[in-house]
Every structure is written in structure tokens, then in C-alpha cells.
């Protein structure tokens, strides 16, 4: 296959353990490398490997530029998995997978008690609070992957002008739905958790619900846009959920 060379360029498949394999596409944070990760993640999710009777692939951990595959080596010999990965990458069509990316709009009430660090971010970046909100809600962010805690998205696309260092002392409890900036990243806390991100606001949306299917509103590869809403809308949406 001609596409094989290109698609697998720079790719390495490493045994992470006797039951897991790490596919590494590169060692930097970039949209292009992450697209290849998400593509392989989708291909493996859809592939017959998971649909067969036994749980041959138990878990998939996409990250910035790599995919960890946790599998049962007695049901799926490592050599077979390696061959399958090469085959999927050879056939993959990144453009087609981009077309099925979901666009998710997340309403956020910025500032006030829901966004206690908005003023600090404004001061650090030299923008007015209104301009911070405008700049934060303008881009379309990409969910590179979900990790750290249930439903926590690692997103790319924060304008460099908004980068603000994390708090020196993390908060012991950050409310669920909080949206913030940590260094050059933005994200949101789906569950109440401890954390050191600068909090800009909060979404009334429930981002992680173990009873829902799927439990996480965001999936790896999603495109995200934050929409500013008023405190009244926030309260109404919380009351209505």
C-alpha cells in the first residue's frame, strides 16, 4: 500500500508491558500528531477486535501523540496486534475521520463567584475581563484526549496571549463544571476535584454522569466552543437539568 509509508512515518510500536502496547506518533504536542492518534483510536474502537466475544482489547488510552492499548495477550497475541495496527494505519483516511468529528458547544457563565480568577487572568494578560472572555470563547478547541480524572479534557487551541501560570497553591476543591486556564492549556473540571487552574467561569452542563451513555459529554477528538451566558441563564440551566 502506497499510503502505508506516509501514514506510519515516524511511528513506533513499543511493548509497554506484557499486556499493553504503546503506539507513538511523535514527541510533541500538535494537532497533526493528535489527529493520527484519534484516527487509530476510532479504528480500533470500531474494529472487530473489541466486538468479538472475548474482551481482547480491554482499554484504549489516547494521549497527545500516542495511543496505549491494553489487551489480553492470551486472546490476542502481541504479534497479531502489531500486524493489525500496521494494517489499520495503512488503510486509515484522516480526512474521513475529521469529517465525523463532533462539534460541542459548552455554555459558560464567566466571572463573578463562578469564575474567581478572571480578574487575575486579566491582570496577567493585560486584557480587560471582557476581552479575556471574548478571546477565550472565540476559538474552536480540540479535545486531544481525556485523562487525569474521569471526563477531564486536555484541549488544544488556547490563544498564547491568554496563557497564565497555574496557582501556586492548588485549591483543595474545585466545583464540577469549572472552566479554567493552566499554563498554555484550557479545560474544565467535570467532577469536583482538587486543582491549580485559574478559574474563568463555570458551565451548567453536566460533563460527567456515570449513569449516562456515554458517561462523558466530551470524547477524544471533539471540537469544543465555549459560549458566554448570563448568570440568569446559568441558574435556569442548573435548575432545569
Amino acid at each position: 500500500m502506497r499510503g502505508d509509508v506516509q501514514a506510519s512515518e515516524g511511528m513506533r510500536v513499543i511493548d509497554a508491558s506484557d499486556s499493553s502496547m504503546l503506539v507513538v506518533f511523535g514527541d510533541e504536542i500538535s494537532r497533526d500528531l493528535n489527529r493520527r492518534v484519534i484516527q487509530l483510536f476510532h479504528d480500533l474502537q470500531e474494529s472487530e477486535l473489541q466486538k468479538s466475544a472475548g474482551p481482547r482489547i480491554r482499554n484504549l488510552h489516547p494521549a497527545y501523540a500516542s495511543l496505549l492499548i491494553d489487551f489480553d495477550p492470551l486472546l490476542l497475541p502481541p504479534a497479531d496486534l502489531r500486524a493489525r495496527i500496521r494494517e489499520l494505519i495503512g488503510q486509515s483516511n484522516i480526512a474521513s475521520s475529521d469529517a465525523v468529528r463532533r462539534a460541542i458547544e459548552i455554555p459558560v457563565c464567566y466571572g463573578g463567584e463562578l469564575g474567581p480568577d478572571l480578574a487575575d487572568v486579566a491582570q496577567h494578560t493585560g486584557f480587560s475581563p471582557e476581552e479575556v472572555i471574548a478571546r477565550h470563547s472565540a476559538p474552536e478547541y480540540t479535545v486531544y484526549f481525556i485523562g487525569f480524572s474521569p471526563g477531564f479534557p486536555y484541549m488544544g487551541g488556547l490563544p498564547e496571549s491568554l496563557a497564565t501560570p497555574r496557582l501556586k497553591t492548588p485549591r483543595t476543591s474545585v466545583p464540577a463544571g469549572s472552566v479554567g486556564i493552566g499554563g498554555s492549556q484550557t479545560g474544565l473540571y467535570p467532577m469536583q476535584w482538587s486543582g491549580g487552574w485559574r478559574l474563568l467561569g463555570r458551565t451548567p452542563m453536566r460533563m460527567f454522569d456515570p449513569e449516562a451513555n456515554p458517561p462523558s459529554r466530551l470524547q477524544p477528538g471533539d471540537l469544543v466552543k465555549f459560549t458566554p451566558i448570563s448568570r440568569e441563564s446559568f441558574d435556569a440551566m442548573v435548575a432545569g437539568r
Binding site: D15, D18, S19, L22, D70, P78, I146, P150
Partner: protein, 308 residues
């Protein structure tokens, strides 16, 4: 209600074999730390292997049975009394309504399992009842059990129990030599680093838990200015933070992380990791992935033949 916690011991949680298929949503599997002890408990009782049991840590629980039941204790040796009689390990026994099973110190390991024929009636969360305390998922309200908690037991037609054959017992002996395969960043410490890991002994530190077992020993040297972008973490990965002291990431670990992983405990030795206590001394030995898979196959063959 059929089982009431009188005293939860040090840390007792409900665990099955884990919540798989959600790592891409940041949900780590959790599940029994000593999965083989749980599987054997269930097979002895005629339960499905994945049936949940109580995982007790260092100090056992005291429980009252409000209904007759057939139960079994597996894992590390735990000093349990049923009335005045000492309760057996690895052998199912009946309890009468009103019976109190009092479990004391766990010795020779860190974790013991109390399983009940029929299993507990708990609502699975994302396909599993395994307790993940950090995310408040599974078990009873996603937390460790406390005094006064009640767990319903599923009604099942009483069925025969099984026995572990005498010759099969040897396989269950604890190990203090943990076998490892090189991890994704093994080259960061190089062959010399793997030698360091294998020549010394490493002592389990007190701040170990289900998320990770921390060790103190000869420090591993990482290359200067080495940085890793966050990637997936496998069960049993040996992570090396900047201080050079290894941590084995365990059942409640995060799904992703940014420290280098220089080695990984082989699948069948994870149950020995589960049984490590603070101040235990271990050795590490490097094996190949092929050997590790072969040993896993042997374990599954042992399990098929372990019962009379």
C-alpha cells in the same frame, strides 16, 4: 439486608475484577488488587469469576450475617473468628443467621478477600461494582465501607463448593521478587539503570496505596532535562519521578501521566504487588515479554486444574 458492617477495619472496599473499556474517558479500572485471590474465591463458591467481594486492607472487618450464607476468605492470611472458632482460609464455610465474623490483623501480605456465595446485590456503575474512591464510583456510594453499612446478598440456590487441591497450594505462595519487563522509557535509564534496579533491594514506603506503591532504594538516574509529554499508563508501570525512587502504578492510578515509565511488573506478579506491606523488601528481575506471556498462560492453566 444480609450483611452488616460492624467495624470496617482499616480500609475495606467492594471490588470485582474492574471497570474496563472507559480509559479513554479518564476512568481507571480499579478492581481487586489481588485479582487471582478474588477469582479463586469466586470459583471456590461457584460464583462467576467477576463477582464482587470485600477487599480488606492490613486490618480486617467485623461483619454480621443477618441471613445464612456460604462465604470464603482468600488472599493474605487474616486472623478471623466465627464465634469462638478460627475461620479457615481458602476453604468455603457456612455462616448462620446472626453469626459475627470478626477479622483481625492481616499478616504475610496486605489484602484479604471476603466473598459470599451469590455475591452482593449492588447496582453496577459503567458495567462494574468496583469501588474507585477518587471518583466516587461503584461499590457503596463510591467509598470505603463504614460501620453500619448493609450489603444485600443475592439469593442463589445453594450449590456445591469446591476445594483447592493440596498440590495447587504452592502456587499461591507470596513472592518478594517482582519480575518486570522494560517499559516505554527504559532507554532513559539504559542497561545500567536496569542493572541498578536488579542488584539492590527496594523497601516499600508507608505512603503506598491502591494508586501506587512507592519504594526507597538505590535511586535511578534520569537524563538531565528529560521531559515527556503526557501518555497512557499501563497497570503495573514503574514510574520514575525526578527523585529517582520508583513507584509502581497500581489499580487506582490515573489513566495518563507525564513521568517516564522505565519498566512494568509482569501481569502475574501484580498480585504480589497487591500484597506488599510498608517496609517489605523486594527485588526486581527483568524478563522478556515472551516469558511474561508464557507465565500468564501457566497461571491460567494452573487455575483450570487447581480444584479437586
Amino acid at each position: 439486608m444480609a450483611l452488616r458492617i460492624i467495624n470496617p477495619g482499616l480500609m475495606t472496599t467492594v471490588q470485582d475484577l474492574g471497570r474496563y473499556g472507559y480509559a479513554h474517558l479518564g476512568v481507571t479500572p480499579a478492581g481487586a488488587a489481588d485479582a487471582l485471590a478474588l477469582r479463586v474465591a469466586n470459583l471456590l463458591l461457584g460464583n462467576d469469576e467477576n463477582t464482587a467481594a470485600l477487599e480488606m486492607t492490613l486490618l480486617g472487618a467485623t461483619v454480621e450475617f443477618q441471613r445464612a450464607a456460604i462465604v470464603v476468605l482468600t488472599g493474605a492470611q487474616v486472623d478471623c473468628r466465627l464465634g469462638n472458632a478460627k475461620a479457615p482460609m481458602w476453604r468455603p464455610f457456612p455462616v448462620l443467621p446472626g453469626a459475627v465474623l470478626k477479622c483481625g490483623a492481616i499478616t504475610g501480605g496486605a489484602r484479604a478477600y471476603l466473598a459470599v456465595q451469590g455475591g452482593f446485590r449492588l447496582k453496577p456503575v459503567m458495567g462494574s461494582v468496583a469501588t474507585l474512591r477518587s471518583a466516587h464510583l461503584g461499590g457503596l456510594e463510591g467509598r470505603a465501607l463504614k460501620a453500619g453499612d448493609q450489603l444485600a446478598v443475592n439469593h442463589v440456590a445453594p450449590s456445591g463448593v469446591r476445594r483447592i487441591s493440596r498440590q495447587a497450594f504452592a502456587y499461591l505462595e507470596p513472592r518478594r521478587e517482582l519480575r518486570i519487563t522494560p517499559g516505554p522509557q527504559a532507554s532513559w535509564i539504559g542497561p545500567e539503570g536496569l542493572q541498578v534496579l536488579q542488584r539492590g533491594q527496594y523497601v516499600v514506603s508507608g505512603d503506598s496505596d491502591r494508586r501506587g506503591i512507592r519504594f526507597q532504594g538505590e535511586a535511578l538516574t534520569l537524563p538531565p532535562k528529560s521531559q515527556l509529554i503526557t501518555e497512557g499508563i499501563s497497570l503495573g508501570a514503574m514510574q520514575v519521578p525526578p527523585d529517582g525512587q520508583p513507584i509502581i502504578l497500581f489499580v487506582d492510578q490515573q489513566t495518563t501521566g507525564g513521568y517516564p515509565k522505565v519498566a512494568n511488573v509482569i501481569a502475574i506478579d501484580l498480585r504480589h504487588v497487591a500484597q506488599l506491606r510498608p517496609r517489605d523488601e523486594v527485588h526486581f528481575r527483568v524478563v522478556t515479554v515472551e516469558e511474561a506471556v508464557g507465565l500468564l498462560r501457566e497461571q491460567e492453566e494452573w487455575l483450570r486444574k487447581a480444584f479437586d
